[in-house]
Symmetry: C4
Subunit: 272 residues, 4 copies
Amino acid sequence: MNKNKSWKSKLHEIIYEADTPAGKWFDIILLILILTSIAVVMLESVAEIGDQYEYELGLAEWIITILFTIEYLARVITIKKPSEYIFSFYGLVDFFSTIPKYLSLILVGSTGAFVALRALRLLRVFRILKLARFIGEGNQLINALKASRAKISVFLLAIFMLCIILGTIMYMIEGGADSGFSSIPRSVYWAIVTLTTVGYGDIAPVTALGQFIASIIMILGYAVIAVPTGIVSAEMTKDQKKVHLNTQSCPNCTANNHRDHAIFCYECGHKM
Amino acid sequence: MNKNKSWKSKLHEIIYEADTPAGKWFDIILLILILTSIAVVMLESVAEIGDQYEYELGLAEWIITILFTIEYLARVITIKKPSEYIFSFYGLVDFFSTIPKYLSLILVGSTGAFVALRALRLLRVFRILKLARFIGEGNQLINALKASRAKISVFLLAIFMLCIILGTIMYMIEGGADSGFSSIPRSVYWAIVTLTTVGYGDIAPVTALGQFIASIIMILGYAVIAVPTGIVSAEMTKDQKKVHLNTQSCPNCTANNHRDHAIFCYECGHKM
Amino acid sequence: MNKNKSWKSKLHEIIYEADTPAGKWFDIILLILILTSIAVVMLESVAEIGDQYEYELGLAEWIITILFTIEYLARVITIKKPSEYIFSFYGLVDFFSTIPKYLSLILVGSTGAFVALRALRLLRVFRILKLARFIGEGNQLINALKASRAKISVFLLAIFMLCIILGTIMYMIEGGADSGFSSIPRSVYWAIVTLTTVGYGDIAPVTALGQFIASIIMILGYAVIAVPTGIVSAEMTKDQKKVHLNTQSCPNCTANNHRDHAIFCYECGHKM
Amino acid sequence: MNKNKSWKSKLHEIIYEADTPAGKWFDIILLILILTSIAVVMLESVAEIGDQYEYELGLAEWIITILFTIEYLARVITIKKPSEYIFSFYGLVDFFSTIPKYLSLILVGSTGAFVALRALRLLRVFRILKLARFIGEGNQLINALKASRAKISVFLLAIFMLCIILGTIMYMIEGGADSGFSSIPRSVYWAIVTLTTVGYGDIAPVTALGQFIASIIMILGYAVIAVPTGIVSAEMTKDQKKVHLNTQSCPNCTANNHRDHAIFCYECGHKM
């Protein structure tokens, strides 16, 4: 059977799967490439580095773009129904994260606008990880979140409304000329900053009444954070797999419940 | 039976319930109207927008006020005992969130004071949501919170007292001339800001001893946040009986959340 | 039996217990007195109010002090073994929170130092609440905390050590001339502020490496907060036996929290 | 058997274990020495104290260094396979936390660089605590964390990626000339500061759109913190078998945490 496999199906196995050594190497190289690409985007944005190493970073970006183009074409060719890949979530991510450098040839001077497109490449990391070892753990997390999605939505909606009402009240109390509470949207922003316990301090109440209400909001936020936590905790405590216990038994004295990696029996010293 | 229904009972079904297509449409339109109204209140408060589009925003407010007035009158007419609706929580919310624009005709120049009244409209969103799909999830959340209400109250009271004592201690340590700890209430405010991990930074200890005590408060707050979370988590992991409720509302009194297949209202015994 | 009760035992019942109407009224009046007293302490500390109403606040303080003195003497007289009360925790709190005004007669001009003593009065609120309705809920909370005390201690110790190590590292990276990281203790203070997600912003890293390490500390703190929460959650989800306790207090010793229908004191065996 | 014990094995028992009175005293003295040493390092870093008491602190450091050297040599001598100790984690910590003062004799003027090495001494506290009473509690905590290690890793990775994407978006929105969002790495740093609810306020959005997205990040962070908490809570609510471990340490290899009444070492089979 293996011999009958065309080069297409072999390449498909390497690119889309991670069970063969070649597939694993492909994933590792791709991962390095993605992380390098993200590093290039980041370094470009730092004014001093971006100016000094403009040529080197541009070159690196071109090399990465060409390699991603090859990968994209390989993905399209090796799949039986190319449209299935092209219009899938990761297909679109691959496409839009590859084209910015080509577009910069046509639209000179506006490369800055494509930075976000290039940052999309980071999403590709999830595809590689999905193929790799974390799949089980990730699924458990996602399932717990999915199961509590409706409850968390209701909770966040209630929090958001609470912030609008509290923001409006604070706007009426603190909303002076020089205060940070210059409009309701800004006051709502402040209420969110406070209730979520972020607390930048760029806007802070100065009147006694304002500080009193702020205190109530903070204590409220402190108590309310228990709610999403309770939701997810309750969801995750459901259907728990029991941890595998070491059931080894000593061949000499039958003592059991040995520690993991025990080499000798703790009772009789017999080798296990 | 359906034929015998008067226009009043039909309108009642549309306005107070969400089981018929017409009732759903009514709710969706009302939801859009409420959100538009809140957006108008917010935009008015932003100085630049409020000044530039004064006429447009005033017009929008008048249209919304008139539509809300019609809705209010319809609610009063279609219910058998109007007083039950008028003096219910949502009845009062509806009334006070509708009148500000009328009052502004009489009391010229003091529209600012009515902003909070208009923000009350947001509370109406909860009524619509209560009728809609989130009813089950919301009930579970509210039940979990109700069940742990007493514990959370005790906890918050203890936190509040702790903040008063810690604030007094910090006032004695840091309370210098130029420091932010100028009075005990302000120091208590700081203690709440710190213990809840909000941390604005508008008031921060500067002496070594003050910073040492602040560190202890922070670590305390970090450990203490576990308590409300533990309470709610414990409550939510308990098995909760799911009672199937629908969005029907009694045409006689305003009681809702009836069980499926309920034939008589559980509040007043009126046939449904 | 009731007739044989002396005025002392009747007064004991009123002061130390909350089961009779008179006992409840005594508690409510005491609660109002304590809260008024705390309000007076707070208002005195606010410069503008303290200066303007110096006479009124001083008078209020004298009235409260005299009422507290009467209460203290009544507590001493009505108990069989006065020394048990006097040297108990609440006995000492009562004593030290009553004397500041008397001391201010002797030591003129140093009233500021007694503010903390007067704030002690707040602790008395817990005694009243202990007698009241929250007894069951409070006990559950305290038991859950007691049961997880050892685990939380280990956790906080580990957090504190982590902060010392991280603070030292940040001192070596950021500790320049103008930076906020001027010494290891200050850097440790910063590490605590960051790890507990308080984040004042009075000290913040400015170098790229410092910000990178700060990011790691923050994400660490974000993950680590799960630990105390998990401890308390696990403790509270355990089935807790509910023991019905009442607010009776032994007339012989000060032991309270007796079981319902208890005939003899569990501490001293005295008939109740 | 006890009589046959050589002075080496007696010293081994004192140094490596905490079951005998001598062993307990050794641990307590060592703990005091370590904490004194850390205090010296801290005080040296405070400019005023470091300059004024330079001689005293230097002397204290020499005394501590010599005592630690003696302890290190005693540990090497009393163990059967010295290489097992020397290259173990605590062996390396002991070595590198002892040498800085000796190195400062050779490399004059660069003592500052050894501060971090001296802070390593704090890690030794964990060894002593491991031998002491907290062993059971600490093990439970560590087991719960180990069991949820994979899930927490996936979670933190996802959070980190989210921060990179959100940071890039904010850089494009807020990244003006004077804004704090001067580069993508800085914006990512801000996203981490915000999502973890630390909120320094050294960088804060100023545009309306930026504040809107910041609000979403905060509410996201508020909901997302439930995830690690849920993971650990779920792990800790599982029934954990309590395995009784003691503080004995194998005299042959450095393995410890043996079961009570264990007769042979589980690692090397040596008689205990």
